[in-house]
């Protein structure tokens, strides 16, 4: 059975109590980049970092740095007074040398720019159809499907995303009822998560596109379905 399109002829599916059974997939992609912190979160983060620092104790490295600094001061003061200092056999590399080396190594590392990245990557997204008439991938439950989960697996196979998507649970997470050509339809929504290495591979075919929560109103014409998608696709 092909993908069921709401605007074209429906593929014969299973009917129960006069209702056509179908399954839809809510394929979610987690945020690729960490979201930007708000002003309050930034201030709170800075405060907690400062409090952690104030309540902490000196580490072994900091003790070593303090001891070496005091020894260096004593040497300088003794040299200023003209006293002869016996050279001690100590470590050639001091803690300060190590800190300078680490700072230099850190400067050599250049991270990719977050500003240049697509802002939509900082938010979770749902895979929707690029066709104006469609939104979610869905298909009818046919006689060959042993369960709703089997119908979802078949739908993933039709989309070519079996290897990169993982269905979460056997039970549907939502229900959307509507009429198609005066026939009542029960669309059972199942949640799936995109686990592929490259999120762009799902858009390669050109039939699907990742859409974040803000862009959902423009893509989902049905207001009831839009409300359900906003509820089910919400991130914690």
């Amino acid at each position: 059975a092909a993908l069921w399109r709401s605007g074209s002829a429906a593929t014969p599916g299973l009917t129960r109590s006069g209702r056509l059974l179908s399954v839809g997939l809510l394929i979610q992609r987690k945020a690729v980049l960490t979201p930007d912190l708000t002003e309050l979160e930034t201030r709170a983060s800075d405060l907690f970092t400062r409090l952690d620092f104030e309540r902490s104790r000196l580490s072994d490295f900091e003790l070593r740095d303090r001891a070496e600094s005091e020894a260096a001061k004593r040497s300088l003061s003794a040299a200023a007074e003209g006293k002869v200092q016996v050279a001690r056999d100590g470590a050639v590399i001091t803690a300060k040398d190590l800190m300078q080396r680490w700072a230099a190594e850190q400067q050599a590392v250049t991270l990719a720019s977050r500003e240049a990245a697509d802002p939509s990557l900082k938010r979770p997204a749902v895979l929707l159809s690029t066709d104006a008439d469609l939104c979610l991938p869905c298909c009818p439950v046919v006689d060959g499907d042993a369960s709703l989960r089997a119908a979802c697996d078949r739908l993933l196979e039709l989309m070519g995303l079996t290897a990169s998507c993982r269905l979460l649970g056997n039970a549907p997470v939502g229900l959307h009822t509507y009429k198609y050509k005066k026939s009542p339809v029960s669309l059972f929504l199942h949640r799936a998560i995109f686990t592929g290495a490259d999120w762009r591979s799902a858009e390669a075919s050109g039939s699907w596109k990742w859409v974040d929560a803000d862009s959902l109103p423009g893509r989902v014409p049905d207001r009831r379905l839009l409300k359900k998608l906003r509820l089910l696709a919400a991130e914690f």
């Binding site: 960490t34 405060l47 549907p172 009822t177 998560i193 686990t195 914690f236």
Partner: protein, 204 residues
Amino acid sequence: MLTASIRHIFNYASFGSRNFHLSVVLPAEPLKKKKRVDPQVELERIRKKTRRIEKEIKRLEQRGRYLKPLDEIEGERHFIKTLDSRERKLPAPSQTEVEQRALLMKEWTRFKWRQLDTECQLLANQRRELYRAMQHLRMLDPSLFELASQPDESLLGLSLSGPLYTLPQSADVFDAVDGDYRDVTPTYRYTFEVDKKMTFGKKK
């Protein structure tokens, strides 16, 4: 004859001569009576000990060491002894700074409570939606409902990673080295060799 022999002893073997001397008095208890040990019993004892040690090694190799309960962990003595010398001498925050911190904590607490409340409502609504879908399915087809009620065993191995702070660098900036990753972490395997005499087995 006897007198002659005694005289001979006292002439040639007196107390100062190299042959006879008096040693220091050594107080000691009389030696214990040596018990007769049955060799079979002794061998059995050694074998039991060996078996216990081998069993313990096998258990350690399979499961690792028993971890100490957190309540019993006292911490490293080295750090406890040097606690006083590790204090940070920082200036105390000013009154203004203390007030600002208190206000920020209050604002943060309110924010997190609102966030928790929103998330709890969201969870309740999602749970209600799931319940509604399952009730509708049960009404339409009880057999499909039964199958949908089964737990999903494949969820146990699910693991996700991310999000990242930045995207990976482009190849012209940083070209990752080709090849497979080889873990060269040193591991030490203890081999316990037991004398063949102490182990069970066919004896020639």
